[in-house]
Symmetry: D2
Subunit: 148 residues, 4 copies
């Protein structure tokens, strides 16, 4: 992989790890990362786990009409991240349902401190916005990576 | 209130209501509001409830050193909002703790559809980032507005 | 207009004025509004000028296929905005071209300080992304509001 | 450099190159990157050029009180970026002034298409927000990298 391609992170066993840098755009006047922006990091992590396993979302949508929509999320903020911090987003698939997936994500400082925990329940929807069964290409890519 | 002052919304009983418009900045390539951006609307709602009750956060911080930090949140996405939608953020205070508050928020379309539910547990922290008791000025402003 | 409808601002002569509040989401770790976020305020101003004059962008797109795309912009930052500031976005149409419009925008503190100047050259494009003549409904809405 | 450290990009001659991925957070309902978000990419590029040359902004601020503030910018949008695109932000320093720097930035698709041009004039300010001469550590880091 060239130094000039964006990183996709890497799988370590069944856990995907994505490095993320904190920029000014992510922080707020309290001097820390704005609380909603950790969910952007989380979404980058989920996206790159899929890409690492061979699935690109815009292609999935073009080919099957399927689109992910967040159904619900639970987020715990333990410690704040700050400007210039090097973070790692860890993503584990915890459930592969008929028309949804569950993921457990931890955002850490590279040094190891756990900052934010996020549990995501993501629905698969069709072009009409209604629930849709996971396409085979997606199920096949994910089925060996379900964590306990 | 002048038409050229930003709205602070209004209390209806113990519930604060803030109108919000969906702009391009809020949406994503799926044609709907990006999932993390509802948390921006929620934070505007909490901020304006406080402002309506006489508390401005930058002043609170200057005068008491206190700052709100999200401890954890639970968000349920029921229906998506779209470009140009007129929304209402409803905010109710459900618990006034020693060093934290809990709020229940619902983001609706003006027409009435409930789109997103958010439960926020917000900690009060001091200049050192450690838990801090709610300053009296804040407790006094809020104590008559706790919903059951 | 109900207190619970989002404001569309108002025309004063040929200048549109939109009130905007600065929230945490807009600021960065330098304690001021992040430089790219003034362009969000500017876009809200352009959008609400159109809405005030009877044009909603999602309808324009559905009915004519037309979509605005920024061609180029020039932005001057004179003074920073801070958390909780009440701002006004002033928008003036300076040129109504065949397939583009030019607008001059000033973001002020309500008290009057000019903070940011933005000159926008916005292209009208069709569903294929190519230049498209302004639809009549748009030209008719705007033609009496060109500032010198 | 570990695969799990965020990339800082790399200098090629006097031009810094940073790879960037387009995520849902960056796009809008028009299906393309929202116009203000290219300025986030540009800021990441400027930040990583400095980091590559040994300067971290939060340290510069702690040690010298200096902080960059955008004075003005000019942006030309030639082609849009889309979800999942792999981009490169090229940053060249074009002027090293007494209390400001000028940079020329091009955002490309990895395949080579030029999408956005940005000219930035960035002021150095002290803790009081007033102009401040470039600290020696910054001038020394940059002086051999001025492009014509």
């Amino acid at each position: 992989m060239s130094a000039l391609a964006p990183t996709t992170g890497a799988m370590e066993g069944r856990v995907h790890k994505l490095p993320v840098r904190v920029y000014y755009e992510d922080t707020d006047a309290a001097g820390i990362v704005y609380y909603a922006n950790y969910l952007k990091y989380a979404e980058r992590g989920r996206t790159e786990m899929l890409r690492t396993l061979g699935v690109e979302q815009h292609r999935l949508r073009e080919e099957t009409g399927m689109q992910f929509v967040m159904a619900n999320g639970e987020v715990k903020y333990r410690r704040p991240a700050r400007l210039d911090d090097a973070l790692i987003v860890e993503t584990a698939l915890t459930e592969l349902g008929a028309a949804s997936v569950r993921m457990r994500q931890v955002i850490k400082r590279s040094a190891g401190d756990e900052l934010v925990h996020f549990h995501a329940h993501v629905a698969c929807t069709g072009p009409d916005g209604k629930p849709m069964r996971l396409p085979d290409v997606l199920r096949d890519a994910l089925k060996n990576y379900v964590s306990e």
